[in-house]
Assembly symmetry: C2
Homo-oligomer: 413 residues x 2
Amino acid sequence: MPHFEDGRVTTTGRVLDLLRTRGTLSRVELAGRTGLTAAAITHVVRRLIDDGLVHEVGRVPRQGRGQPRRLLELAPDSWYAVGVQVDRTTSTIVVLDFAGERVAEAGLRGSGGAGPEATLAVLADHVADLLRASGVPRERVLGAGLVTHGPQDQERGVLLTAQPEPEWLEFPLTGTLSERLGLPVLLENDATAAAFGEQWAGEVPTDTFGLIYMASGIGGGVIVDGESYRGRASNAVEIGHVALSGGSTVCVCGNRGCAQAEAGPRTVVEQVLADGALAERLGVKGEADGTIADFERIARAWHRGDRGAAELLERSARWIGQAAVTLVNLFDLDTVVLSGPAFVTAGPLYREHVAAELERRALSRALRRPEVRVSTNVITAAAVGGALHVLRTIPIETRSDTPVSAPTHEGAS
Amino acid sequence: MPHFEDGRVTTTGRVLDLLRTRGTLSRVELAGRTGLTAAAITHVVRRLIDDGLVHEVGRVPRQGRGQPRRLLELAPDSWYAVGVQVDRTTSTIVVLDFAGERVAEAGLRGSGGAGPEATLAVLADHVADLLRASGVPRERVLGAGLVTHGPQDQERGVLLTAQPEPEWLEFPLTGTLSERLGLPVLLENDATAAAFGEQWAGEVPTDTFGLIYMASGIGGGVIVDGESYRGRASNAVEIGHVALSGGSTVCVCGNRGCAQAEAGPRTVVEQVLADGALAERLGVKGEADGTIADFERIARAWHRGDRGAAELLERSARWIGQAAVTLVNLFDLDTVVLSGPAFVTAGPLYREHVAAELERRALSRALRRPEVRVSTNVITAAAVGGALHVLRTIPIETRSDTPVSAPTHEGAS
DNA sequence: GGTCTATTATTAACGAGTTAAATTAAACGT
DNA sequence: ACGTTTAATTTAACTCGTTAATAATAGACC
């Protein structure tokens, strides 16, 4: 019972998605939200209950006249998925149950520069530990979602960039991890994964929005009508390389004035390092613990009221705001979400400046007030999105492949 | 028999689209290209033949063994559609038959500044004349596609911008034109329409590409897997307001460094006007015959070898190239088409510079060589796209609503 | 010419959606 | 207490896809 068939969403998949995001729904509500008829929902839900993926959990009391709605929920322990998010120097692992709830979680630090082989080995060990510790039965795990920056070739499971080090280019990421884990592994873009994670968390009030993901680099994701925009080869929304008017810094991509070169965390850290006294005051050393850690020190300094830190961050935030304007104008959006480890502390500052830029400059500002939110879980959103991607994508072998027996439904329990 | 249902493409619609673009196809070929089975094609095609929309036109001789393919074609005279493209000072009207071939065409000039009411009145008269002159039976015309710059509200058929004059904002365009013509009228974005027109012309070798439309202003369109990206409310790809690094000119939208303000035809014309001697030499007066006419004079001067004209156009072309880089990076594209009246003469110059920018700066340049083309019909592409939109969208009432009689097919002719 | 074979098109049986009508289960009003 | 009303769900008949088997048609080979 796959949820997708060559990229197209099935009815079953949509029902599962809705139950996962909303938690508990009746058949009528499912019908309303999917746009399908109640009759179709009856069929789909019956199959899902037979397969043990969905349970009926009582009925709504005192809703008024008429037959009460019977509430449905995903069976949390029916299946599980792992999400592994890898950035230059920090990684996050989560294990989700079938309902999308976090069963286990781990954050890793400081393995920067170790190369893909060693990094994946460490991650695989941690995944195995997590699964063991949390008591999730191995044969109930559908697979793992590996989440990294782009550009990537998702079919082959490799990165198409030499970042962070040359060995990563074309290294068989999903193949290696899959072999070590004994599970199917899907590769996903960090920003897109975070967007799905965000949508699942239910904090975004619309199913059409853009997301800016800031870790060591800057990525973008766009969700339209609940599905991600992927473009030609799933490498869409490289917002880190949007040109900024007034920008001039040279970027690794060869362009000038790219958002990433002008305003990315790495650049902010370098700007601090360039001012010895400031670096000293903020405790920024530019050493092995990586860009994110240093950036976080700067953000905390701003939070304590440091003027120097504030100036640099505000400058970066205005640039990001300008990139957001381009994103919104090109993709016709009215909601932008900020996610990624760079926003742990600096989130509110960025939110304010991005919102200000959009309100001043987005083309649609007269029609709809643009909205900017900071992710509710900047650190784990991407890993959660990776695991969700697995839950949504990997086909589930249906148990009852016997021809559906004559309905013996006399009322549940 | 609608081709679309709430934005989703039907099988019937895809078959008609394919026959329209490819001209002549057999059932097997249709099956292959749609991804449907031969059985499904049999059903769909039978219905289409019964309704008189498709004809069998002989069989392929000597293809090898086996039963020869029976070739199918659209019935050109079954239905017609009108496309009306309106720009500041130039308009184009086309009448297409059901096969998408041009039955009639008219170009209009110099009605700038007349306001929507008067403009539509003139256009409606011309449409009526064209239909009469070309002998297209009125009751066989499905409707008209009105094509303008954005942003627009396509549902209500109004512009959401005060360009070119304040009266255009919220003026009931489709309502007025529909009443005058006695036909359904759909509103469509010029760049998106041109992209459809281009795709139909079959000159673009891929079904995923971006298009930059330059008339008085600059618009953008993106086609992914043969369908247009529309975003939240069909106002996507406002590439005229992408920020350019190094740009600083103030734009009507309130931003600085927008592509349109920095490099649009209007700006180029103004730059020429600012240099009295140059304006004199090129014959540019900045008078009522409009931006496009003046821009065309500059382009022709370049073509004759005028250095001053070349410098200004090249500068504009490089800016457009930078906007194209952003378009390509955000939407993950590898093909960009240039269309619109501004490219009549200047097309090759822009093509060269846009291609150069993409080859130097697009992120995907290492994976796939970015390709830039000038539309084969820069002037009429948008109007044609508007008419195609009508052919693809407006439901056709099926003649035979009688239950399909017992198949009396004993082999045709 | 007669048979075998490859290719195209059609038919038959089935699956997943649709609409319309029927069934079920509670609340309301007397 | 009991029929009426209302809302949720199910069933029934039909549509438009699917796959699998069958029919039609011409080339290849004897």
